[in-house]
């Protein structure tokens, strides 16, 4: 019973090759976006939709630009908000991913521990991060500590779960081979279980990072002192500045896209794909 290590499949872009159409096909996805934005702008300018509820694209841009330039040269409000959120993301995901991976390796290699912790993980994993926010506000107050704490927890669970699953799925022959070659307990743990579980761990990192991100934004709605993208959006909503709200959301999308495409995919490329493990 072994795992099949297949070469990674080459992604072939699907195309029906309908000749002339093929060249303009790439424009197609941009069409609805462009149409949508134009309609929105027109409707807003013609006062057919309320400016305070649905901000026109120009409004959004104005708002964001204002946020950036308003307090320059001391600082850019916009960038400060973004920086605050990213800082929290960095710290929380680091803590969560590290503890989750170690925890997962630890309980994944010992059957007894796994059977003990599995029900606990099952019960606590589905709790949404924002539900924990009031609790942590009582314990840690508003601002960074609460946000980072809850974010770490959000990142922790997918990691411990996936890492444990990965570790448990190891081919026992590999463990035997390591043992007979004289590897110590720690060597087997870090040199055999962990690399094997790398595929699962990476999937966990993807999930954990996503969860951490969502949770941080959510908790920032309730617990941010005065900085952060979540805070910025919430503040804008409170003062009915629609431009700020939509602008904030657009920023969320862009930033997350960069994080996912940039970080995670490059990580995948250099580890799991190199070793020939097929993506699950």
């Amino acid at each position: 019973m072994g795992v099949s290590w297949r070469k990674p499949s080459v992604y072939v872009p699907s195309s029906d090759g309908s000749g002339g159409w093929a060249r303009v096909r790439w424009l197609l996805p941009l069409l609805p976006i462009a149409v949508f934005l134009i309609c929105w702008q027109v409707l807003s300018d013609a006062n057919l939709i309320s400016r305070s509820l649905f901000a026109a694209p120009t409004q959004v841009v104005d708002e964001l630009v204002a946020l950036h330039f308003r307090e320059l040269p001391t600082r850019s409000l916009l960038l400060s908000h973004i920086a605050a959120t990213l800082k929290r993301l960095l710290v929380a995901s680091f803590i969560g991913i590290l503890s989750g991976t170690l925890g997962g390796v630890f309980i994944g290699t010992r059957r007894g521990l796994y059977r003990f912790f599995d029900p606990l993980i099952t019960l606590f994993m589905p709790i949404p991060g924002i539900a924990l926010a009031p609790l942590f506000i009582i314990w840690l107050g508003f601002g960074d500590p609460t946000i980072i704490a809850v974010g770490s927890i959000a990142a922790f669970f997918p990691l411990v779960y996936n890492t444990a699953a990965g570790v448990r799925s190891i081919d026992p022959q590999l463990v035997r081979a390591a043992h007979i070659m004289g590897a110590s307990r720690t060597a087997v743990l870090f040199d055999v279980y962990l690399p094997w579980a790398a595929g699962h761990v990476l999937m966990g990192v993807k999930l954990g990072l996503a969860r951490c991100w969502r949770t941080i934004v959510a908790v920032e709605f309730v617990a941010a002192a005065s900085w952060g993208l979540g805070y910025m959006i919430w503040d804008a909503a409170e003062y009915l500045r629609a431009g700020g709200v939509y602008g904030g959301i657009a920023l969320l999308v862009v930033i997350y896209l960069v994080i996912e495409k940039g970080l995670v995919n490059t990580l995948e490329k250099y580890t799991v794909e190199k070793w020939g493990i097929v993506r699950r």
Partner: protein, 278 residues
């Protein structure tokens, strides 16, 4: 080492054996909680942890009892939440499957809307709430819409992928027999993509659940709901109430996923042997 045929599996288990199996499983599941609960209780009793910051399980259970019977509010909170969840989620299921199918079947639509869809999916569900608050208002409808959005994207996406992955030969075979349109969908596309759809349903209910809790917390005019209960507990500094709320959330979420959807899975795809070996 050769293993004989699993006789039990073949013949089916007697009801008594099934009950025994269930009891053993339940006991195994509850054991860690007893251990944690007891140590927690002892740690508080011996004043290792402050009483105010972390109430002992006994206090939490008392609070739970209180909320259920004396004040009677827990049931009310929970039912309101479930009511919103049902509406929002069912809407998400209906529209999600419909839109997902549409995108899977019409290539041009897919190419046009996929980028927008994937962008919208990546927005944290909770981020829609401020938008909803300023457009729809601060009450129930916002929460329900948030729940809908949470579930919709996951279900639509997974439905679309599921239908795309249906074996083309099966579709062609049905087409040859003269089946088309809605009938084709119901008899071939839907069952064939059920595995993915169920995945979408499971993801969807998770997101919807989060949207429910978050939405309730952020909507000022909402008074009843589990999320609101936890949020309000902050003003009375009642950690115990929060824990009750968290446990209710977790258990409800688990029940919904494990019982409801697992049942659905069992009755359909597992029976048909379509589930890949885990």
């Amino acid at each position: 080492m050769r293993v004989g045929v699993d006789q039990e599996r073949l013949e089916g288990m007697s009801p008594r054996k099934r009950v025994n199996r269930g009891l053993i499983r339940a006991r195994e599941f509850l054991f860690p909680f007893l251990v944690v609960g007891l140590s927690w209780e002892l740690l508080v009793r011996f004043q290792v942890i402050g009483l105010r910051t972390l109430p002992p399980p006994s206090a939490i259970l008392v609070e739970f009892w209180d909320l259920v019977w004396n004040k009677g509010v827990l049931i009310h909170h929970l039912s309101r939440s479930l009511y919103r969840l049902t509406i929002g989620y069912l809407l998400a299921v209906g529209l999600g499957i419909a839109v997902g199918t549409l995108l899977a079947v019409r290539k041009t639509l897919r190419e046009m809307f996929m980028p927008i869809l994937s962008m919208l999916i990546s927005v944290p569900t909770i981020a829609w709430v401020p938008v909803l608050l300023i457009t729809i208002g601060l009450g129930d409808n916002t929460v329900v819409t948030a729940i809908f959005l949470g579930g919709f994207f996951a279900i639509a996406y997974n439905t679309m992928r599921g239908i795309e992955m249906v074996n083309k030969d099966q579709v062609n075979a049905a087409r040859l027999m003269g089946v088309s349109g809605v009938k084709l969908f119901a008899s071939v596309l839907l069952p064939g993509s059920l595995v993915s759809i169920i995945t979408g349903l499971r993801l969807g209910i998770g997101y919807s659940w989060r949207a429910l809790v978050g939405g309730e917390m952020l909507s000022a005019l909402v008074e009843w709901g589990i999320g609101k209960m936890i949020y309000q507990a902050r003003f009375w500094n009642s950690v115990a109430v929060m824990f009750v709320g968290l446990m209710v959330i977790s258990v409800s979420g688990l029940l919904l996923d494990r019982v409801l959807l697992k049942w659905l899975e069992k009755e359909t795809v597992e029976r048909w042997g379509m589930l890949a070996e885990r």
